[in-house]
Symmetry: D2
Subunit: 322 residues, 4 copies
């Protein structure tokens, strides 16, 4: 995602300058810098965060670095767009929240870009607009062609893939999770089987999530919000339809890049506005959202292991994140 | 179509008895008779029409026999469901009309089954219901996988395929044709190229019809009625959708049998009611409709040859067919 | 459904004769008999079943009568098409199975008409055909405009509505259920809330079922079979599409009658063939299927009450039903 | 469109600077300049074109100014993105072509943004890729909610609306027009009726175009390319689907802005690259394309008036535009 962010900064964010590309692989950093007009490259993120010619930071490094880098940005007083997760450990998320609160201002925006996807925007608008009646359920299907790694597990489906659903569902419904139950079917091969989760919210909604990391047929993310008087569902976007050989067909994307490109651009523009104005964007995810995603994912893994409905135990929400 | 009609009588028309199967090929007749429980077989249609144990006749023989067989049925006082066309010659149609009028009652129902297709029924209902506003245009696409014969011509597309559109459009719009213009693109092979027709009606509508007898990709019939305040289009019926190999697809039929099976059943039930009650069905095609289809087809062939807009010259409509 | 069956016999089953209409309300019985040409009416079903001029019976009476009437038919040696459920009590189903086995031949066909719906037929064909790979999951959504009665409960959603899904999923997947878990969201009014069930099969599939009896927006039944290499989903059948007021729309049915009319006709034709040949139809539901539906429904109610995953305990399958 | 271009420059074209906003209404110019960060405003375009701090020009002024402003840009050696039409008069287009050829390099890119729309891009790719076989026909429907002015005429539909189709069809098919025939149905009110055109190309394709400026129901542009072995059609893009009140629906746009926003951005980025590199973009429209659109539109108006098929007489294509 680092290269994608560099490209978006260079091509879609007039007024933003890709200043430094930081990567342990300096040749790769230089390649990106050359392609997208960065001023400099670096290996050590801490020194980058400290530089005077750096106003803001985008973190797209390995997951375990998200917390320390976010903390460093807060300490340096720099705004940071951190790819999800903030951390897979709720306690680490709480630590970032504590630092952020101590700093007196929000610094961290999380890369839950689904909130900026037009389908979910229309879904939330419909719910807020009232025509669907009160929300009852939200059904979610998240399907990838194949896992990035052969040793991907069901637990990783919950901690690495499902957080996009955990976050966008909370965002659309405006609620928190109370419990989670998890199920898995059996595959005939060694690939990771899908995970199906059923979540109850504190407002009495039901949420179902299918994570199918080896769906084979395409990259396909679907959601349906069921209200008391109607439903709204994401619609697969296709620009053309082909009729051939007794079949009428549209195409799926192979991964999330094409599907969510416009969402990434919107998100990053909102981050740019955050950097310029200091006002945290209305629909962006903050550290509390990152904490919630980590907490429900942790409960989800426990539920998968135990086979039991598992409560989602959350710290009280600080006024700071209200 | 004869076998299809025999099957429909046997399987979908309780109260009707397939009495006699008449075919020049007596073995084929006997096969159908055995399969669908007919009482007898015959070679000569005239003697069949005359039999006392025959109440009604379905004509699905070669086109050139439609007029003489219809005339024989009228003469014998038997109701007949005659496959389209009544004749390709308007004068022959007028002759049947004259005989029918002389007999004092309608005897001939034409097999323009599209009128009984649910899509067109909903289209006509929407127009009559008024929500679309006044009709402005109707667009029609009639596509077959391939022609029945290699020597099929553009003129045959107009005289043999287009009459289904000629009839159902008149039926839906409730109007007559004033002029027809015809065009053909060029194919890269020896197959018959599509024909595109533009028709003006006496009520100021425009009608476009594409006949594409070698569309290759599937059997596909589409229509769209454009009104002053909205449109209604036929929707391709599919019972399932398959997601495979980066594609989401539904299937086309290979020919009209599957696509219009329900329409044939409805049509033949209406014919049965006509036989039983003597009341000509509200939506069925009669000899006047057959005459209109033949007249516009004849003008269409002339238009194709001349490359000019051609007037559709019609005899006055007898009160009998009002 | 009794009137629907009478109509189907009269209009769609040549060779079948609606002999007697039996109803506690004799005026209603006479009305149906007159409309559909029945020979006689009756109040007491036992005497009807015993009559010599009755070859076969269709049971569409209140649910609690299904077991005794099926037993009476078995005893009388008459084939019976019994609307679902055979019974809501597994023990009653076992009793009918015992009687049927003692009689030496299958007599009871259950009215799980979904098996005859074109969408499910194509789904099963795709699975058997192998292109989807091994089945992993089946997702099901069953939505009614509103409940028949105001005092409808979540338990009734499981025992009265879900059996259609319980049966057709078993049929498509060719498996039995191992466990069931049930959830309910909260509504803002007094209407029954939806029920979501997650079932594990003995072959390692996962099945989700949403029963939403007050979905408000339309009668809408959906299913998706997810295989290891692709998916197949039911497609909503619509014959026309309307463009008006910035919207492109198709219509939903208001209830199951329109949606499943063709399935009922196919099912009843298969019953007619069963009566005529004595050969139990390949895809029809038998008493074992009725027992399975009752057993999983009972476990489902227990799961809804307890909030726990509940095992589906089944008697061994008799060789007779293999 | 001027404000839209200013917005795109400011928001979507990093590296481009909105330098001067030129408008006869200086207050409007100042408003745009303030909103999008322009350096200056002006009333007289000639002086703007001449300024040293102006590298390139976007012309979105009234149609009759397109030719003189394009000529001024060529004379000043500045690249210009000129909204369609270059001129409605073929002779004016030829004059611009002459000036451009005399200058030795292409200066003018025309704003036929449809070429940059993803649907048409996929259509052209499919045709070039060969899977559809040779192109036979292209059907086009261009529908607006309502005309901008009450006195809009059928001739204006051809000269002002249809050029988008004239251009994109030539672009997709890679051909020129040979003849055009035009038809109009009658409306029941004073609004301009739709125009239907049938065009033959020099390569034997047929093209149909419906321009319906008062379609009422939505902004809806459709196209279908029919090849010898299959077809590809534009698909209506919708991000969500709503189920309410027995209807399943998606939304139409109200005008072209939303529908073609991404196409405008792509087009203007290509213009930016043209300005920076001097290399005319592969898929952009040039003055020859503008001449072709004007010529066929002129023939189309003549065809509408005469009711006759009208030849499209074109000057020979200069090597310069090959
Ligand atoms: Mg993300
Ligand atoms: Mg016919
Ligand atoms: Mg049933
Ligand atoms: Mg334009």
């Amino acid at each position: 995602m680092g290269a994608d962010h560099a490209k978006i900064i260079a091509e879609d964010l007039p007024g933003a300058q890709l200043q430094i590309v930081c990567d342990m692989d300096v040749a790769r950093a230089q390649g990106l810098a050359d392609r997208y007009g960065a001023v400099d490259v670096a290996i050590h993120p801490d020194s980058v965060i400290a530089r005077d010619d750096v106003d803001a930071v985008i973190v797209a490094s390995p997951d375990f670095t998200h917390t320390p880098l976010s903390l460093a940005c807060i300490k340096a007083g720099k705004r940071v767009l951190c790819e999800k997760p903030l951390s897979q450990l709720p306690d680490e998320c709480l630590a970032v929240m504590a630092a952020e609160q101590a700093s007196g201002a929000k610094h961290v925006m999380l890369g839950f870009m689904r909130r900026y996807d037009q389908s979910y925007i229309e879904m939330k608008q419909a719910l807020v607009g009232g025509t669907l009646g009160r929300a009852l359920m939200m059904h979610n299907f998240h399907r990838n062609v194949e896992t990035p790694a052969a040793d991907f597990t069901g637990a990783m489906a919950i901690t690495n893939s499902a957080p996009h659903e955990f976050d966008v569902v909370r965002h659309v419904l405006g609620t928190e999770y109370a419990s989670i139950t998890a199920f898995q079917p059996q595959r005939s091969d060694a690939l990771v089987a899908p995970v199906i989760m059923v979540l109850e919210t504190t407002d009495g909604h039901l949420v179902t999530i299918e994570i199918n990391n080896n769906a084979a047929y395409g990259y396909d993310v679907r959601g349906e919000l069921v209200g008391e008087s109607g439903t709204i569902a994401t619609n697969t976007v296709a620009y053309s339809r082909t009729d051939m050989k007794l079949s009428s067909s549209t195409r799926y994307e192979t991964d999330w890049r094409g599907r969510y490109h416009a969402a990434y651009v919107r998100q990053n523009r909102d981050f740019q506005a955050f950097v310029e104005t200091g006002k945290f964007p209305d629909i962006a995810s903050d550290c509390w959202d990152g904490y919630c995603a980590a907490t429900v994912a942790q409960a989800g893994v426990e539920a998968l292991v135990s086979g039991m409905k598992t409560q989602v135990e959350m710290a009280p929400k600080p006024e700071f994140y209200a």
